[in-house]
């Protein structure tokens, strides 16, 4: 099981240092980013549907 002591064996640079599927931190950040992305999508579609009316006024 990956832990803080095994995370040290991976040497990533750039964005991969924070978003990868090998280290504990990377995996956690990917999971949080996925949930955040889903939440943003839901928020976007909720707010968008309020602006567009069902029937256009003539």
């Amino acid at each position: 099981m990956a832990g803080p002591e095994t995370d040290a064996q991976f040497h990533f640079t750039g964005i991969k240092k924070y978003f990868n599927s090998y280290t504990l931190t990377g995996r956690r950040n990917c999971v949080l980013a996925t949930y955040g992305g889903i939440a943003l999508m839901i928020l976007y579609f909720k707010l968008r549907s309020k602006k567009t009316p069902a029937v256009k006024a003539t």
């Binding site: 990956a2 832990g3 599927s21 090998y22 504990l24 931190t25 995996r27 956690r28 990917c30 999971v31 949080l32 996925t34 949930y35 992305g37 889903i38």
Partner: protein, 226 residues
């Protein structure tokens, strides 16, 4: 015939009053509390069985996980005794009710998840992404792992409900078939009766196995989160 098949699963009443709570509490009266240093034979056997089960089940856990020993031992004893008592003719089995099994599964599962999120938040969140996942598959796998986590309590409850209900229904059906065949063909009735006996033996095993499986899975969820 149809009406008789499902009446054993309805909430039991006695003189108009619901007695389901009494039935749920009844198995606890069959387990005497060990009050002395050296107890009688029944209590000693009970103690030995509980110690055997708790050692086998709790050995894999660390100190934090072992604080759940009482909860898990009570759970296996309750489900096991309830399932076995349900094999008595004309009795009501609380574990055939999905509501009751969900009432056991959801709080226990939620407790393990909450414990994991509280004690090791990083590792609990990281569990949603298997190590070594290719980059393009990450969002999909996170969603799949989240769904499989949320399905766990449902699977726990439905597994127990379906196994016990199906067993009872089969016994009811085959018992009815045996009775109906007695006047038609004695040999066929005898064969059906042998099948019924074997099924009853199987149901005894299923009653204990399902209790063990339920408790073991909760124990495994706890192990993943401690």
């Amino acid at each position: 015939m149809n009406e008789n098949l499902f009446t054993s699963f309805t909430s039991p009443t006695m003189m108009g009053l619901p007695i389901v709570t009494l039935i749920i509490l009844f198995p606890s009266m069959l387990f005497p509390s060990p009050g002395r240093l050296i107890n009688n034979r029944l209590t000693s056997i009970q103690q030995w069985l509980i110690q055997l089960t708790s050692k086998q089940m709790m050995l894999i856990h660390n100190h934090k996980g072992q604080t759940w020993t009482l909860m898990l031992m009570s759970l296996i004893m309750f489900i096991g005794s309830t399932n076995l008592l349900g094999l008595l003719p004309h009795s009501f089995t609380p574990t055939t009710q999905l509501s009751m099994n969900l009432g056991m599964a959801i709080p226990l599962w939620a407790g393990t998840v909450a414990m994991g999120l509280r004690t090791k938040t990083k590792a609990s969140l990281a569990h949603f992404l298997p190590q070594g996942t290719p980059f393009p598959l990450i969002p999909m796998l996170v969603i799949i792992e989240s769904i499989s986590l949320l399905i766990q309590p449902m699977a726990l409850a439905v597994r127990l409900t379906a196994n016990i209900t199906a067993g009872h229904l089969l016994i009811h059906l085959i018992g009815g078939a045996t009775l109906a065949l007695i006047n038609i063909s004695a040999i066929t009735a005898l064969i059906t009766f042998i099948i019924l006996t074997l099924l009853t033996v199987l149901e005894f095993a299923v009653a204990l196995i399902q209790a063990y499986v339920f408790t073991l899975l909760v124990s495994l969820y706890l192990h993943d989160n401690t």
